[in-house]
């Protein structure tokens, strides 16, 4: 089963993403900030990481950089959830090693369509 790590500090968004993924037959693990996400990533392996950018404690960009340092996450797709559609945020994400991004607001259909592009 495809296992996805969902990192977002917003309960509602995290719940929504996780619920949507589960409804589509994915397995999810949730984390509420980058640090928790990193800890969970280290403890297990994932087929995909979906992470918010703006989070307390550790932001998504840092999480992405840290994940890429882990051998098991070298090729794992990492999608950033971002509201900034500006090139800047995308550049920062890419520079940190993100695979792609999903611009908020998104709906469940869009989410599923997007992740099908990486897993």
């Amino acid at each position: 089963m495809t296992k996805i790590l969902v990192v977002d500090d917003s309960n509602s968004i995290r719940d929504m993403v996780s619920f949507t993924l589960k409804s589509s037959g994915y397995e999810t693990v949730e984390a509420k900030d980058g640090q928790e996400g990193l800890n969970k990533a280290k403890a297990s392996s994932f087929d995909l990481v979906i992470s918010d950018v703006n989070m307390p404690i550790m932001d998504g960009i840092t999480l992405c950089q840290e994940l890429r340092k882990l051998p098991s996450f070298k090729f794992t797709p990492i999608l950033m959830l971002t509201t900034e559609s500006s090139g800047d945020m995308k550049q920062r994400g890419k520079a940190a090693g993100a695979t792609g991004w999903l611009v908020k607001p998104f709906n469940p259909e869009k989410l599923i369509a997007t992740i099908k592009r990486v897993v």
């Binding site: 509602s12 619920f19 090729f75 509201t83 695979t99 592009r117």
Partner: protein, 712 residues
């Protein structure tokens, strides 16, 4: 797939309110160059905007976008943090709260206030280095206008950089996505593939040429390559029948042809090479007109869930604790039932142990269940920094607010109901407590007044103190006012604390004229009444020139009460512990009979009227003489009375049950509870009992003053 987004809305609302609180308190503490604070404010606004967008609350998204833009400029140093902007942001927080409350309550909100603040924000932003772009929310949903229902042949040259796969992208998925648009033909070019010795297995050496026949736009194709646009060379071109529309970019041989000639002019125009710049598509049709509202991902007006039961967010540790206790209870239960299977007297000891264990489990379980409803009082305190900020601006008084004991936990219901009385007390402290700056300087006090809110547990209750270092209560002014209002006789001699208590009398106000701040038609009597309705009490202490201290005593929860069990005849009653001043054995020389048949008991300087419960409730009792009886001295509404009882029994926590459900309200009784032996005991309503006593003495007086009239 259809997912009902409305199920996530309550949690969105909850976290939005939390975010707003954080924004507000952080804004109040914001200082120049405080990166972390401004970052957290930005993050909160950002999350609210993201959530609002996702759940389709466009008005919130639009408004919050302005706020976020302003914060963003502050965050990256493009804008100095000035007080004026902070005030606008505080106003904005209020607006966002209004907007979100209107979602919660499914009502309209004050559009005018929002429009004003919104234009203020826009003005502020216009004067700044960068103007906000409102396309944030739009571009993801910009529905690309489809052209004719015509399949076009696209030729895509895709030359990825060698490290492409290291970002987790896999060309295969890109091709799959393309295949969903139409039929594809993919040609791989392996010319770049190095010899096996030179090859790095983590690099990508292939390049591809894809021919796509689909009814699609260039934008759709670009979107698929969006994530890799900087890690590849990409050329997208359109192929038409007979001629290659290919511009000067990479050559491609026309392989498939479409005979449609009437493709619109724009479409036949050569597409620019994509590799240089990706701006939203150049073709006019591909971009929706700017003023268009973003297409919301859910129905434009989200359906509010009908059942508004309210929710508590409970820490996982609390729930885990409950589950553990449940486990222990189950173990005890199975142990006891096993014991019961073939019980004989040799097992009595084990039975006792088991029962003790059961008692322990039950007690812990009860405490844990109660703890679920408990929240730190910071939930009630967190509105005060803003309040003080606003009040100090309004009054010109400099005030520092000190919060203590914010982690002290309190029942959610009590918390919700104590908010307003606390606000009133704090307003009162600012208005009547803290002196104007000039007065303070003249009196040799620091310019800045201090208001302290402190919360702590004391026995089974929580105490909230509201202290100020202001001028204190003017004893004489209060007394004169009370005489003027006819509350007390001019010649009565009262202790200081009795005089201070007069401020809680209905209609009492020492301020010369009603002020805008605390004189909003709500007096201290209402504050007191509200606190009493929660089963609490309020006391005031004051030293003239040094300040006042209001002490609010509240039960930790409304469902459970700490009670003193007393016996009268065969009946057992429960007196709320919080009302008990002391219990004593009467001494003959301290009993006085006055004005007819009233019995007063001298308790230090007070004369406390004695109320025999057996008389009040018409019961048979052991003792009918006040002499050498037991008195429980209780206090309510500032009035002390001695309740005469036969016996003092245990003190214990009792669960309050309503008499109203199956019966009706009973005077002097606030409810009932079930004791350990399964029997029911009545809980005494102390203010109610005092009321009965006062009424009956009044009607007695009335009867003796008007002997010719017959009382009903």
């Amino acid at each position: 797939m259809s997912i009902d987004l409305s199920q996530f809305i309550p949690s969105f609302l909850e976290e939005s309110f939390e975010g707003l609180e954080l924004m507000e308190s952080s804004l109040l503490n914001l200082e120049q160059g405080d990166d972390e604070t401004i970052n957290s404010i930005f993050r909160a606004a950002h999350s609210i905007k993201g959530g609002a967008g996702t759940f389709g609350f466009d008005n919130v998204t639009e408004f919050t976008h302005l706020v976020e833009t302003l914060l963003d400029e502050m965050r990256d140093g493009r804008r100095e943090i000035v007080q004026g902007d902070v005030e606008i942001l505080l106003e904005s927080v209020d607006c966002m709260r209004l907007l979100i409350e209107s979602i919660q309550n499914d009502t309209d909100c004050d559009d005018e206030k929002i429009a004003i603040t919104s234009s203020l924000l826009t003005q502020t932003l216009d004067g700044s280095v960068s103007t906000p772009v409102l396309d944030d929310a739009t571009d993801n949903y910009s529905s690309t206008v489809k052209q004719n229902n015509t399949s076009i042949t696209w030729v895509i040259e895709f030359i990825p950089e060698h490290h492409l796969v290291q970002t987790g992208n896999d060309p295969l998925f890109l091709f799959n996505a393309l295949a969903e648009l139409g039929s594809v033909e993919i040609e791989a070019n392996s010319a770049e593939l190095p010899s096996l010795n030179d090859m790095d297995p983590e690099e990508l050496y292939l390049r591809w040429k894809i021919t796509l026949v689909a009814d699609t736009t260039e934008d759709d194709i670009k979107e698929i390559f969006e994530w890799v646009e900087d890690e590849c060379e990409l050329t997208i071109s359109q192929e038409l029948a007979g001629q290659s529309s290919e511009p000067e970019s990479v050559k491609s041989e026309p392989e498939l042809s479409v005979t449609e000639q009437n493709i619109s002019a724009q479409q036949t125009e050569p597409s620019p090479a994509v590799s240089e710049e990706i701006k939203p598509a150049p073709s006019e049709e591909a971009v929706p007109a700017k003023p268009n509202k973003p297409v919301s991902p859910v129905a434009s007006k989200p359906v509010k869930s009908k059942t508004d039961v309210g929710s508590i967010r409970v820490g996982v540790d609390k729930v885990d604790n409950l589950i553990n206790l449940m486990g222990e209870l189950v173990i005890t239960q199975s142990m006891l039932s096993e014991l019961g299977n073939d019980f004989d007297l040799s097992k009595v000891e084990r039975l006792n142990t088991g029962l003790e264990q059961l008692l322990q489990n039950t007690k812990e379980l009860q405490e844990s269940v109660m703890r679920i409803r408990m929240l730190p009082i910071s939930f009630a305190f967190n509105r005060f920094p803003r309040l003080i900020h606003d009040l100090s601006k309004k009054t010109g008084k400099q005030i520092e607010l000190v919060l203590k004991g914010e982690q002290t936990e309190l029942d959610k219901t009590v918390m919700e109901q104590i908010g307003d009385p606390l606000v009133h007390l704090v307003r009162n402290a600012v208005d009547h407590g803290i002196e104007p700056t000039e007065t303070r300087i003249a009196n040799g006090k620091p310019e800045q007044g201090v208001i302290t809110l402190d919360a702590y547990h004391q026995g089974g209750s929580i105490v909230i103190e509201i202290n100020d270092d202001g001028g204190g209560i003017n004893r004489n002014a209060v007394f004169e006012k009370a005489v003027e209002k006819g509350v007390v006789e001019a010649n009565s001699s009262l202790t200081d604390s009795q005089v201070f208590d007069l401020i809680f009398e209905p209609g009492f106000s020492t301020a010369k004229e009603l002020s805008d701040i605390s004189g909003r038609g709500v007096g201290m009597d209402v504050v007191k009444k509200n606190i009493q309705a929660l089963g609490g009490r309020i006391q005031v202490e004051s030293v003239e020139g040094q300040g006042s201290s209001f002490k609010v005593n509240l039960p930790l929860t409304l469902a459970i009460l700490d009670g003193q069990l007393v016996r009268v005849g065969t009946e057992i009653y429960i007196i709320p512990l919080i009302t008990i001043v002391e219990s004593l054995q009467t001494q003959k020389n301290l009993i006085n009979r006055v004005s007819g048949d009233m019995v007063l008991y001298r308790l230090r300087e007070d004369n406390v009227p004695v109320l025999p419960i057996y008389q009040l409730f018409n019961l048979a009792s052991d003792t009918t003489q006040v002499e050498d009886s037991l008195l429980v001295v209780v206090e309510a509404d500032g009035q002390k009375v001695g309740l005469m009882v036969d016996d003092l029994l245990a003190q214990q926590q009792v669960v309050i049950k309503s008499l109203n459900d199956n019966y009706q309200q009973v005077e002097g009784i606030s409810g009932a509870t079930i004791l350990g032996d399964g029997s029911v005991a009545m809980i005494l309503d102390i203010p109610g009992i005092i009321n009965i006593a006062q009424n009956s003495s009044r009607s007695n007086q009335y009867a003796s003053a008007n002997p010719e009239e017959v009382l009903p």
